[in-house]
Symmetry: C2
Subunit: 116 residues, 2 copies
DNA sequence: TTCACGTGTCATTTTTTTCTTACACGTGAA
DNA sequence: TTCACGTGTAAGAAAAAAATGACACGTGAA
């Protein structure tokens, strides 16, 4: 049971990647059709450098993928498309993922101090 | 189809609330049993003010709820517990939610300007 | 009264994220 | 050559989030 989802760290990265209006719209747009950077920037109304940053964050989280292609007239176009991600978030799913968190280390080891 | 999930803004808030190691651990801990602030702070190894801030973020997103109770010896304890949230994230689900985003727009209405 | 334990907030610093501006390179067409 | 359109990055400003420390209040027990 338990489809054994992503590790805690990966989950945090994916959630952080989606927890932004612009990035949510990027995923939404790419869900319809793949697109290249400049065109996507125009459609979303954001600057290229800014879009570039958001795309990197999404790609790093594994939510989209991009590949460079050559257009007929020789231009290098970078096309992005969404991956088939499928995250099911419930309290128990979170509880399971949290067990593999490595980020926050207050006291790494097990220190079950429970004296009154 | 489409269970008509949260609005785009609500989704962003929920995702942002979960996209943090400490908050993920808070939810994970509360998924097992409800707990009060001070005790939770000790278990997670974080300060009360910090935990308080994270709890507010989680409660604002509707992922946990807290209520004040009086203990036998008269102390006011604030107990928190997780809600029955259930988020299913896929590209199409995101696409649907993105349609109700209001955050990132200078002007409210639809301004599909695409002239050069 | 003083202590331990519970609640909370406020002000401030530190850190991270977001965004802008400016720059660089490559190719086809006028 | 110059222009338009594609790619990318780097530096710094601006904004938001995270974290800390010092407070204040209430109650029961020593």
């Amino acid at each position: 049971m338990a489809v054994s989802g992503p590790t805690g760290d990966d989950l945090v990265e994916m959630l952080a990647a989606l927890a932004n209006p612009i990035r949510l719209r990027i995923v939404a747009t790419l869900a319809g059709r793949r697109d290249y950077v400049s065109q996507l920037a125009r459609e979303l109304g954001v600057s290229r450098p800014l879009l570039h940053m958001h795309l990197r964050r999404l790609e790093a989280a594994g939510l989209i993928t991009g590949r460079l292609e050559l257009s007929d007239d020789g231009k290098a176009m970078k096309y992005y498309e969404v991956t088939d991600f499928d995250l099911h978030l419930t309290a128990s799913a979170v509880a399971e993922a949290a067990q593999t968190l490595t980020r926050p280390d207050p006291g790494k080891g097990p220190a079950p101090k429970e004296s009154t």
